[in-house]
């Protein structure tokens, strides 16, 4: 397990780091971004863990898919994105929505089906969306959001806004047709979209290797779209940040799409119903050693950031999660007035006169 940041291989921007930086913190990432990534990772970790607790208390209904173990990817990308860039993600999307700026209360409230929820309880855990923060939706049917993200990128290209779409999906998603169609068209049209495969080794309960003809489900397919093969350690926020920054920059400058495979692991089962018994013994334990959060904490300390700074962030995050939990619990259920609202742009639901 890497305790120190690896040399930013092939990273253009690395060259931009100050030539004779006194501290390692003054490299191409720097202190502010590192603290931000640490905080984001913690926020995700604790929010997700809280969601799990609330489910055990029967306060979270339906299903939910946690990103515990995969925090570095969401955090690294969010830190590299411009505030008006677009995120498209999956049902495993609490993390991606929150790191763009959605409030914890609104996220937990949605999982609990409360009025304060991001979607007033109408969408649920699998559809978190916060358009004001550029979180353009969590999509629950495998593959659909890849072409949708390409469409948002088409908008940016057409209007010349410079916005980039970043689209997250899992390893299992690389075997569905929409994956193929979206990436081909994005490549042909040179759209500003970054496709990010979070390879956590499993589709639902089936190991990805059992159902995929190549070893690296995304990276080994990049050449089918004329794209370079890119693999990154998805548990290392710095590595993710660098790859994200470069791909986003290239897209913003008109260089077209990228396909990035981030290797990672989910600590929980696939969804709340899943005890993950199908995992070979010891696998989780191995990956726990690569848990992105303790690793990143240690890196901050190694870089000379004070224990007090780190632990004050930890305390702040815990408190924020506690506060959000209380606020969400206090929120009422959505009233019936929501039922017939917002099918149509006029705010209503009428299909006849």
């Amino acid at each position: 397990m890497a305790r120190k940041p690896k040399a930013p291989a092939k990273s253009k921007a690395a060259a931009k780091a100050p030539a004779n930086s006194g501290s390692r913190l003054n490299d191409d990432i720097g202190e502010d971004k590192r603290l931000k990534m640490f905080q984001l990772q913690l926020e995700v970790r604790h929010l997700e863990t809280r969601a799990h607790d609330l489910f055990l208390q029967n306060l979270v209904k339906g299903t939910s898919h946690l990103a515990v173990g995969q925090e570095a990817i969401a955090s690294g990308f969010a830190t590299a994105m411009r505030s008006d860039d677009y995120t498209f993600c999956t049902y495993r999307g609490h993390a991606h929505t929150m790191v763009r700026g959605a409030s914890m209360t609104a996220v937990l409230g949605e999982l609990m089906g409360r009025e304060c929820g991001l979607l007033n309880g109408k969408g649920g855990s699998m559809h978190l969306t916060s358009v004001e923060h550029g979180a353009m939706g969590s999509y629950a049917i495998i593959g659909a959001h890849l072409p949708i993200a390409a469409g948002a990128a088409w908008k940016s290209q057409y209007l010349g806004t410079g916005q980039v779409s970043v689209c997250f999906f899992g390893d299992g998603t690389t075997n569905i047709g929409a994956f193929h169609e979206a990436i081909n068209m994005a490549a042909v049209w040179k759209l500003p979209v970054v496709f990010v495969c979070e390879n956590n080794l499993y589709m639902e309960y089936t190991p990805i290797g059992d159902v995929t003809a190549v070893e690296h489900p995304a990276a080994d397919r990049a050449s089918a779209y004329g794209l370079p093969s890119i693999i990154v350690d998805g548990n290392d926020a710095d590595a993710v940040y660098r790859v994200a920054r470069d791909a986003i920059e290239m897209a913003r400058e008109g260089g077209g799409p990228s396909l990035i495979e981030a290797k990672t692991y989910r600590h929980f089962g696939h969804s709340r119903a899943d005890p993950a018994k199908y995992r070979p013994e010891g696998e989780l334990e191995e990956w726990m050693k690569k848990d992105p959060i303790p690793m990143y904490r240690q890196r901050l300390l190694d870089f000379g950031i004070g224990e007090n700074v780190v632990s004050s962030i930890e305390e702040m995050v815990m408190k924020a999660v506690d506060d959000a939990t209380e606020a969400a619990k206090a929120s009422p259920e959505p009233g019936s007035e929501y039922l017939f609202k917002d099918v149509w742009a006029d705010g209503g639901a009428s299909w006849r006169n």
């Binding site: 677009y86 498209f88 991001l118 979607l119 007033n120 109408k122 969408g123 559809h127 969306t129 916060s130 358009v131 004001e132 353009m136 939706g137 999509y139 049917i141 593959g143 659909a144 959001h145 890849l146 072409p147 949708i148 993200a149 390409a150 469409g151 948002a152 990128a153 088409w154 908008k155 940016s156 057409y158 209007l159 779409s165 047709g177 929409a178 169609e181 979206a182 081909n184 068209m185 042909v188 049209w189 929501y338 609202k341 917002d342 099918v343 149509w344 742009a345 006029d346 705010g347 639901a349 009428s350 299909w351 006849r352 006169n353």
Partner: protein, 325 residues
């Protein structure tokens, strides 16, 4: 007024809207350089250029996904799906994503897009290129559904669909593409959700859509001429929103109603209208509402068989006449 074909009215409407609104863009297979396989979009590339009129790969999910993503973020895309049968290869986007996203996000987005498609039979293309699938769209909450029967309606309703802030499925009936009709000059926009009474009658009400409208009209003329039966004909035009007011008013006038559907029978739009008439016009009905549909079979390709399957003027005429007996 100029005389235009149903086919040409498509390009006319798109051009009209692209001229007034720069956010209108158009994509599909063979739509730009080739002007569309049905020649419905000839001239658009020349006028609006490659940035706004785009040829795509054979990737219907990418086409509809692109339209959705662009619509959610500020454009007003028009996507062509060459044959409506191909909705089946991008049905997730059409049925699960586009219509539900506004509701699921509690109104955070609008979805102003149009999916145009060539629908229906009568041209010997066989079971996979001839389906009339208005009911596929009608059954999905969150989609508006339009199916014009005349060149003027193509122009006016397509323009209205492009301006609408909701997703609209726009069915062009391919057997009508060569039909000609007067189309208002200049900017012309109709209203969605209005049925049209094409013929007023006192004995029976025939409710039809798209290619079945001219057939219903001919049957009504024959009923008048040969049997002295006075039939009104309603062109439904939009299935969603559905103009139940106009439809019910015409049903109530005569108390004897018939629907004419090109789709195979089960769960066709006529079933919905029948069930609505049952619930809301029951006491005004002198006779049961009778549905005239394509039988519930895949459509055969040979001329003789296809003609026998689709509701014909003859069949409409006979059904109404016998129904009133």
């Amino acid at each position: 007024m100029a005389e235009l074909t149903y086919r040409d009215a498509v390009a006319a409407a798109i051009a009209q809207e692209m001229r007034r609104d720069e956010t209108v863009v158009f994509l599909g297979e063979d739509v730009a350089w080739a002007g569309g396989v049905f020649k419905t979009t000839v001239g658009l590339l020349d006028e609006f250029g490659e940035k706004r009129v785009r040829d795509t790969p054979i990737s219907e999910q990418a086409i509809i996904g692109a339209a959705m993503g662009a619509a959610m973020t500020g454009l007003r895309p028009i996507a062509e799906i060459m044959f409506s049968d191909f909705f089946a290869v991008c049905w997730d986007l059409i049925a699960n994503q586009i219509p539900k996203t506004r509701y699921m996000t509690s109104g955070q987005v609008i979805m102003p897009l149009v999916i145009r498609t060539a629908n229906g039979g009568g041209v010997r293309f066989g079971a996979q290129h001839s389906q009339s699938i208005e009911n596929w769209a009608m059954m999905i909450p969150g989609l508006k559904v339009v199916a014009p029967s005349t060149p003027a309606d193509v122009k006016g309703l397509l323009a209205a669909s492009i301006r609408d802030d909701d997703p609209v499925i726009f069915f062009e009936q391919k057997s009508l593409y060569a039909d000609k009709g007067e189309v208002p000059d200049g900017e012309y926009v109709e209203e969605l959700g209005k049925a049209k009474v094409l013929r007023e009658g006192t004995d029976a009400t025939i409710i039809a859509l798209a290619a079945m409208v001219p057939r219903a009209m001919k049957a009504a003329e024959r009923l008048q001429a040969e049997d002295g039966i006075s039939a009104s004909v309603v062109d439904v035009r939009c299935l969603v929103p559905l103009d139940t007011q106009t439809i019910f008013a015409e049903i109530r006038k005569t108390g004897r109603a018939f629907t004419v559907e090109e789709n195979p029978r089960l769960c066709g739009w006529g079933a919905e209208i029948s069930s609505l008439a049952m619930e809301e016009c029951f006491w005004d009905l002198d006779l049961p509402l009778i549905r005239i549909t394509t039988p519930h079979i895949p459509l055969p390709s040979a001329d003789a068989l296809e003609d026998e399957a689709l509701p014909s003027v003859e069949r409409i005429y006979n059904t109404v006449r016998e129904g009133l007996d």
